[in-house]
Amino acid sequence: MQQTIMSQGLDLMIFGMGTVFVFLTLLVFLTRAMSWFVNRYLPEPEPVIPSVPKPADSSRVDPVVIAVIQKAIHQHRKKQAQ
């Protein structure tokens, strides 16, 4: 038993670590190939847009806000006029 579990643990370590390295090594090569292919054959025409997805509304100005601003400016102008 002692032997078995130790040997099982060893197997797990050897084949496990081996797979991790093989997998990530392949991933390195595939990623390099992919990047090369993209930059070679599919260069991006459009300027890169920020990849962080924005909540839909943060990009447009809230009409209420504009209203407030215009009101503020207007009152201010009245003050100036006096």
């Binding site: 099982q8 991790v20 990530l24 090594t25 991933l27 390195v28 890169v48 990849s51 997805p53 839909a56």
Partner: protein, 438 residues
Amino acid sequence: MDNLLGLWFESGIYHMTLGQAGMMVICALLLFLAIRKGFEPLLLVPIGFGGILANIPGAGLAFSAAENAILAGDPAFLADAARLLGADISATAKELVAMYGAAGYETHHALTELAKSADYHNGMLYNFYTVAIASGVAPLLIFMGVGAMTDFGPLLANPKTLFLGAAAQFGIFATVLGAVALSALGIMDFSVADAAAIGIIGGADGPTAIYVASKLAPDLLGAIAVAAYSYMALVPLIQPPIMKLLTNKEERKIQMTQLRHVSKREKILFPLVLLVLVALILPSAAPLLGMFCLGNLMRECGVVDRLSDTAQNALINIVTIFLGLSVGSKLEADTFLDPKTLGILVLGIVAFGIGTACGVLMAKAMNAFSTQKINPLIGSAGVSAVPMAARVSNRVGLEANGQNFLLMHAMGPNVAGVIGSAVAAGVMISIVRGMAGG
């Protein structure tokens, strides 16, 4: 009068065991660390709270209908249970619950039917655990959300940092060996499955650890999850000494070249490349890495932002609450208060240490063979613990050289570490099942 007695006999104080009281203190400590010290609060607050709920005496929130029926101690039911479990008629409720835990599917099925027909019910936390973790769905959805939050840009700009993410996973497997050694020496009693589940703590990735533990060692899940998240929070204390021990001032000073710009299309294709590789090499890692890639694709493709937003906000938050409470159900005293837990806590921190060391050493090894030097401090980020470990690399780097901003460079190995531990999870699950099968 009976009611008054009934209420007293039902009261918590009357039933409270020392173990339960102890667990409540431990859970209170977890809450303190989460709230006051900022230890991974998003997980440790629900986990700690769930742990308190799981240890409320007499409430049975963490038990199945069958266990609640046994613990209720109705003689008729106990007799049936003993018969079904093949136990001696004089067996205590506690013994029967233990035997129930060890029993197989048919016995569980039969006893559950029996308990339900006697109008006993699953505890709330038990139901959460069944739906969220036993089914495997909660860790997978968290992983999808993490994928939707991950920017592979730095990794794509410098793919060889993937090797650092690979090396740092050695902490996992060294710990597996340590665990089986403890068993072989008769100090602990870990099965190979237990050892694998404990090792994954070294992956420094919460959902991965919970996923593996739920498949290979559900009884240890509580301790494993607590260890994983606590040590992730302790990364700023655990890593720097090791990093400094293994590097000299010159190495820590190494400036790295500005990362190249990575195009949108590369970012869109990467999760698909990763998915195809998983499909070809390691199907057993498909659920974890598949959901991770889906989240990342939704993030990068730019046409499903509303799905990506939901995946990284409403959905992941909802799932986190249930995941935390479900993990808490495994902090029930009889499950958690076990010498194994101590072993897990010790092995877990060893795993972190070895992983950190291997990441740094791998970076130095790569420098020996490559002209374009990398700062070995970013090697430690290979354990994942995103983004904490990368921040640590950056901080230690700044100590050595005030102009040396390693954060972006460390993000590469950092996310590589996530992939690495998911791969390790997949391979361990398939090997261990093979061993069990064989």
